[in-house]
């Protein structure tokens, strides 16, 4: 009897994923075996777990290690993104407890679900096979659908979950079809092999099946990163989902979408760059403009930040359209800084909000500047960073992305980008105007700031300011991360 040869399996590249999965399952069990009531300890455990996973991931920085016959790789690119995911998850965990308590939905399943999402995102970043990336995407998405609808008693949250599920599955269909066509055209799902086969084609753009596959994959990912015109789900989902989960969704999964998109397009399809660059040009302009113009008119702050998050995906797409090393490194840097400033802003929103998702408009920030000076200063830092004003990380990120476009010769793209950025200043300023220049309409009790949220705010402010003033170290990491791509 001839044995089936078992390929050599090296577990080290997916050690953090395994660790997090086991932890998540353990938390699920702990959750059901210990009587309900105090669920915060689950949050503490998962936060410690995320930090530990961060150490594991960080240890992998260096030369790439492949495993599972080349369908997963541990390289600097993946490591950088994994750190972003872990940061977004860690911050989301820190800001969840107080909110969930207030809204009366502090079910223990929250934390395992966040961890599963992270595992999925990590696989997307580390996957070098279309199937791995797809599996990662599904693990991430399924957990996210539940998280979006986590506040079961709230109709809007239900709507968010359902909407996200329907449109998400729809986009997954596109993505999978695109992958199938790519497989049909090249006969493989390994990204490196696709690159080799497409590289041998004389005119890859004449291969209809390949081009169709590329288009469908692009569409699928455009849904995931909320790029216009595939952004329709974003405002409703972001508004309806529990606020900590909105913060998480707009940072981590968006970065994961970019990670997979970058790897597939830059590694597998560089020979089609002329074609996809033009598409991304259009996509970037649409995304920035639609996001910013619509955000101008929003009163609900979560909705405003949802549109702003669309706009920010647009800025990242500018770097993607440029498609060069600077652009890719710019996306990495931008996603990292966006994680800090965006989750930070949502943390402040959580503290302003009241039970039942009340107090969620820009007007409710009136007078914050003098009632809670520290909180208002933190919010100002985040808003200035989102608006791209120095010396914040948001400025350096935009600087990076727009220089990549100029470098590539896409002057007009950069011009449209900065004009958008100027327009965006208006709606960020509006919040600041309310915080500092209007009197509060009603007097109400400010929520107590619990230590976890204080910690998350501290981390976010530091993560927004420090890379803005001394960005060199992180820029070096980002550049090393994209070197292999």
């Amino acid at each position: 009897m001839d044995m089936i040869t078992i390929p050599a399996v090296n577990m080290t590249p997916i050690l953090p994923e395994i660790f997090l999965s086991v932890l998540a399952m353990a938390l699920l069990l702990i959750n059901v075996f210990i009587p309900s009531g105090q669920k915060s300890y689950l949050g503490y455990i998962s936060f410690v777990g995320v930090v530990a996973a961060g150490v594991l991931v960080g240890a992998g920085w260096g030369a790439p290690v492949e495993s599972f016959s080349g369908s997963v790789v541990q390289d600097n690119f993946a490591t950088f993104f994994k750190i972003i995911f872990l940061l977004s998850a860690g911050l989301a965990i820190l800001i969840s407890d107080q909110y969930m308590e207030r809204e009366g939905c502090n079910h223990g399943e929250l934390y395992p679900l966040i961890l599963f999402t992270v595992v999925g995102m990590m696989l997307m970043a580390a996957g070098t096979d279309l199937m791995t990336i797809f599996l990662g995407l599904e693990v991430m998405s399924v957990a996210l659908y539940v998280l979006a609808g986590f506040n079961r008693a709230n109709l809007k949250s239900n709507e968010a979950g359902l909407k996200y599920f329907l449109l998400g599955s729809f986009s997954t269909g596109f993505l999978l079809y695109g992958m199938a066509l790519t497989y049909g055209a090249t006969g493989t799902t390994r990204i490196a092999k696709i690159a080799a086969i497409v590289g041998q084609m004389t005119v890859p753009s004449a291969n209809i099946m390949l081009v169709a596959g590329m288009l469908l994959m692009l569409t699928g990912f455009a849904f995931k990163v909320a790029a216009a015109p595939f952004h329709m789900w974003t405002p409703d989902v972001y508004e309806g989902a529990p606020t900590p989960m909105t913060a998480f969704m707009s940072a981590g999964p968006k970065a994961a979408g970019f990670a997979a998109l970058l790897r597939i397009f830059l590694v597998a399809l560089p020979t089609l760059q002329v074609e996809w660059s033009q598409l991304l040009w259009v996509l970037a302009v649409l995304t920035m403009t639609v996001g910013n113009i619509t955000a101008l008119r929003q009163d609900n702050i979560k909705r405003m930040l949802a549109y702003s998050s669309i706009a920010h995906a647009g800025y990242a797409l500018v770097g993607f359209a440029a498609g060069n090393g600077t652009g890719a490194a710019g996306i990495l840097f931008y996603m990292l800084s966006y994680t800090f400033m965006n989750i930070g802003a949502f943390a402040v929103i959580i503290l302003i909000g009241k039970k039942g998702e009340a107090n969620g408009t820009v007007m409710d920030f009136a007078g914050l500047g003098f009632k809670q000076p520290a909180l208002a200063v933190a919010m100002s830092v985040f808003l200035f960073s989102l608006a791209g004003i120095p010396p914040t990380a948001g400025f350096i990120g935009k600087f990076y992305l727009f220089s990549s476009a100029v470098q590539k010769g896409y002057i007009w793209l950069a011009v449209i980008g900065v004009l958008n950025s100027a327009a965006s200043v208006y709606y960020y300023l509006r919040v600041m105007v309310y915080m500092y220049m209007k009197e509060p309409t009603e007097d109400f009790e400010w929520t107590r700031i619990t230590p976890p949220i204080a910690l998350s705010l501290l981390i976010s402010v530091a993560g927004t300011l420090i890379p803005g003033i001394v960005p060199s170290v992180i820029l070096q990491f980002a550049e090393q991360a994209v070197k292999l791509i």
Partner: protein, 497 residues
């Protein structure tokens, strides 16, 4: 280089350190006020000390020609951004003006600002750092950083302590300037990349970028972006619309800083960065520049004549005065440029003083409407005396400071473009008309409303006497200042020495 204990860094960041000191005591005005005063005075003394020793510094010949002090350190290696600060005669003049204007701003708001005093002072100090940085930065990315940073405190200053439609005004001010500066940022990036392509060196250093060879078309685009950013700050007609609003609704200190310094950053940027980086493009656009400047002078003077609000009138007069600065730069000729630079300082002092005086009047009468006053000469003679003096300075009366600047600008411009000089001269006549009307109605008319007005107190007299002294000193003996900027101007106009 030399025994330089990072003087420029101290000059830039000392106010920020002061800001951080004031913040913890922001709820106690009694502690915050003296602290801020101490920091600002210290800064002024440092600037004056630099001035006192400038000839000694010049003799030491630092690495960059024409500069007195240079500081250079790597900052963001990935882009080749360096922390480069440089002080030459022009910057030194601007640094002194900055340090002085902030003291004036503090003095006029000593009592006028009663709410959230500590925060107000902290913002003033933060802004001082930004403006100092703008006048000293020699790395374009660093310059851009300070350029943006100085806006943020101003935004809050007008928004929180302003009156009238202050929120509208401050948002308008912020958006206008953001819009221009973002396009400039893009031009900076493009210039950086073009330079990197040509020389293989990634840098944002002004003196390296000057060497970039640019095709005429590219140069025009890039200069256009710089020009737009600076013209909005200047403000040149028709990009000036934010200024009257911002001035009118700002607190007095805000107006003093706006007129005294923020407008100067526009003209300073143009002569430090715009012209040297893109000489041909600047040459091409000179007629446009002249046209806009002269249109601005005439338009602003006519509009000023029709104003009822004293602050708004002075705001429009500011646009007119800055028009002369613009003409002097457009001529790009040693005499005219010296005139422009002197005029920048003069305008800062005179207009700052006028805004301060209107602020004092507003504190007493709670109105700034010209029609509400009249016959002040009899009621508050001291105030009226100073007001008359500064108004005359603003008109350009010989012997007072503005005369020197305007005279130099016009005589210098005359050698390049007699037409422009001639048209600009008519502007002086218009200035005379509206200023005389203002003085006539407010100071000399018979009293229209019985307002209970008290004359100046000791603090105000000290402040105004100091300003008056400067106005006269700079008017009768401008030579030391001209000596100070003589060398740098020659280098600017003549290209490399």
């Amino acid at each position: 280089m030399m025994a330089d204990p990072h003087l420029l860094t101290i000059l830039v960041f000392f106010p920020l350190a002061g800001c951080l000191l004031v913040l913890p005591v922001w709820k106690r005005p009694a502690a915050a006020r003296p602290l801020a005063l101490g920091v600002m005075t210290g800064e002024l003394l440092l600037a004056l000390w630099l001035y006192a020793s400038w000839q000694g510094l010049a003799a030491l010949k630092p690495i960059l020609p024409g500069y007195l002090l240079v500081e250079d350190a790597p900052w963001i290696g990935a882009f080749g951004i360096r922390y480069t600060l440089g002080l030459d005669g022009i910057s030194l003049l601007m640094v002194m003006l900055t340090a002085f204007s902030f003291c004036v701003a503090l003095a006029v708001s000593w009592r006028a600002i009663g709410e959230k005093v500590g925060l107000f002072l902290a913002l003033l100090l933060a802004m001082e750092t930004g403006i100092m940085g703008v006048f000293l930065a020699l790395d374009l990315a660093l310059f851009y950083l300070f350029w943006e940073v100085m806006l943020i405190p101003m935004f809050f200053l007008i928004g929180i302590w302003g009156h009238g439609r202050h929120i509208y005004s401050t948002v308008k001010f912020f958006l206008f300037t953001m819009f221009g500066s973002l396009l400039m940022l893009l031009a900076i990036i493009a210039l950086h990349l073009l330079h990197a392509q040509q020389s293989g060196v990634a840098t944002f250093g002004l003196h390296q970028l000057i060497a970039t060879r640019l095709p005429a078309g590219t140069q025009l685009w890039l200069f256009g972006a710089f020009f737009l950013a600076f013209a909005i700050k200047f403000p040149l007609f028709p990009l000036h619309t934010w200024l009257p609003d911002a001035h009118t609704d700002a607190p007095t200190a805000g107006s003093v800083i706006l007129a005294g310094l923020l407008l100067k950053t526009g003209s300073y940027g143009l002569l430090r960065f715009g012209y040297p980086l893109f000489p041909q493009a600047a040459q091409t656009l000179t007629p446009l520049f002249y046209t806009l400047a002269i249109a601005g002078i005439i338009y602003a003077s006519l509009v000023a004549f029709a104003q009822e609000d004293m602050k708004r009138l002075i705001a429009y007069s500011s646009i007119g005065h800055m028009g002369y600065v613009a003409i002097g730069i457009a001529a790009w000729q040693p005499v005219a440029l010296s005139g422009s630079i002197i005029q920048m300082a003069n305008h800062g002092v005179t207009t700052g003083a006028l805004f301060a005086m209107v602020g004092m009047l507003d504190e007493r009468a709670h109105t700034r409407e010209i029609g509400a006053f009249g016959g002040l000469w009899g009621k508050i003679p001291l105030w009226s005396f100073f007001f008359l003096l500064f108004s005359m300075a603003s008109v350009g009366l010989p012997g007072l400071n503005n005369f020197v600047g305007e005279f130099l600008v016009l005589s210098g411009t005359f050698t390049k473009s007699p037409l422009a000089a001639g048209l600009a001269f008519t502007g002086i006549v218009l200035t005379l008309v509206y200023t005389v009307r203002l003085v006539q109605e407010v100071v000399f008319q018979t009293e229209r409303k019985p307002l209970p007005l008290a004359d100046l107190d000791r603090r105000e007299i000290c402040l105004l006497a100091l300003l008056a002294l400067l106005v006269i000193l700079m008017g009768v003996h401008p030579a030391p200042l001209l000596d100070l900027i003589h060398g740098p101007v020659k280098i600017l106009v003549g290209g490399a020495p």
